[in-house]
Symmetry: C2
Subunit: 199 residues, 2 copies
Amino acid sequence: MYEGAVQDLIDELGRLPGIGPKSAQRIAFHLLQTDSDDVTRLVTALTEVKARVRFCEQCGNVAEADRCRICADPRRDQTSICVVEEPKDVVAIERTREFRGTYHVLGGAISPIDGIGPDDLRVRELMTRLASGEVQEVIIATDPNLEGEATATYLSRLLRDVGLTVTRLASGLPVGGDLEYADEVTLGRAFEGRRRVDA
Amino acid sequence: MYEGAVQDLIDELGRLPGIGPKSAQRIAFHLLQTDSDDVTRLVTALTEVKARVRFCEQCGNVAEADRCRICADPRRDQTSICVVEEPKDVVAIERTREFRGTYHVLGGAISPIDGIGPDDLRVRELMTRLASGEVQEVIIATDPNLEGEATATYLSRLLRDVGLTVTRLASGLPVGGDLEYADEVTLGRAFEGRRRVDA
């Protein structure tokens, strides 16, 4: 509907995840009316990301060198590996400041409906890391949904005979929430995982 | 939280309208994992828009020459001007194929709360166009909301003594809707604007 360049930009923006035709149009007009410097900064950021960012050869997290900042940090405990689905999960866990080990990013979760099996994830790379014998604990931190649970079950079976501690993040009531608003599955898990109170 | 280039991209994407931090992160990771060609196409589209697109010197619509495609089209009726707020409104009206005149894009609507008055819109340019004496009808097609109505009222007063036909798009029930779900104001307008049925 628009003239050449505007329509091209709307089309390209509309290909991005979560951006429909209306949002694409809104962003295109914003960019048209905005300062040229802002657009230049966005163009530079896009170009730089493709030029500089790759994936850590050890854990699969985003990195600007062969290894990511966490794997390259000598203060991180290399005997403990937290397995997550995506780089954004690493950021979420880092924000808690609870974990001082390293990560392993699978690059997704097992989902037969989307045709994603264990071979499509970085499972082989995980097994290679474990083969060194240095690792003592694997913490499975996949998402608490159907695909994440399937992945966690698959991994825990695979790791059963490797002879190391395998744990899974606790499910239960979210802190700050209302018990009456918790769904049945979460409440059921909270019961199942109840812990003795040390008075 | 992320390493340099990824965080820079997330920050730049987060500046776009309607894109929050979570969407920015999602788009950044999509672009990281996507084919380099897709990113190149997006970069080209962004650069081209800033290089090639400007605003029509006559109507204020987006254009890739001094005049937009509509103003430059000799088949369009130059005696009828439809006044809209934004270029996207031009596209919406063009889609109806009901109007064969030209447009005038104000670049927004009067909104005292946002500090936007008539001088911030392309009202003076509209008056200059009307001064040629060629125009016979002005159709005010601002949005049917508070700001659009205020702009329509302002314009209709301004044009009262110019000696041409000034009309406003009809308000009423949306076609295909249910009467019982119409809000009171719309239903009221539909009554007010009721038309005699020619049997």
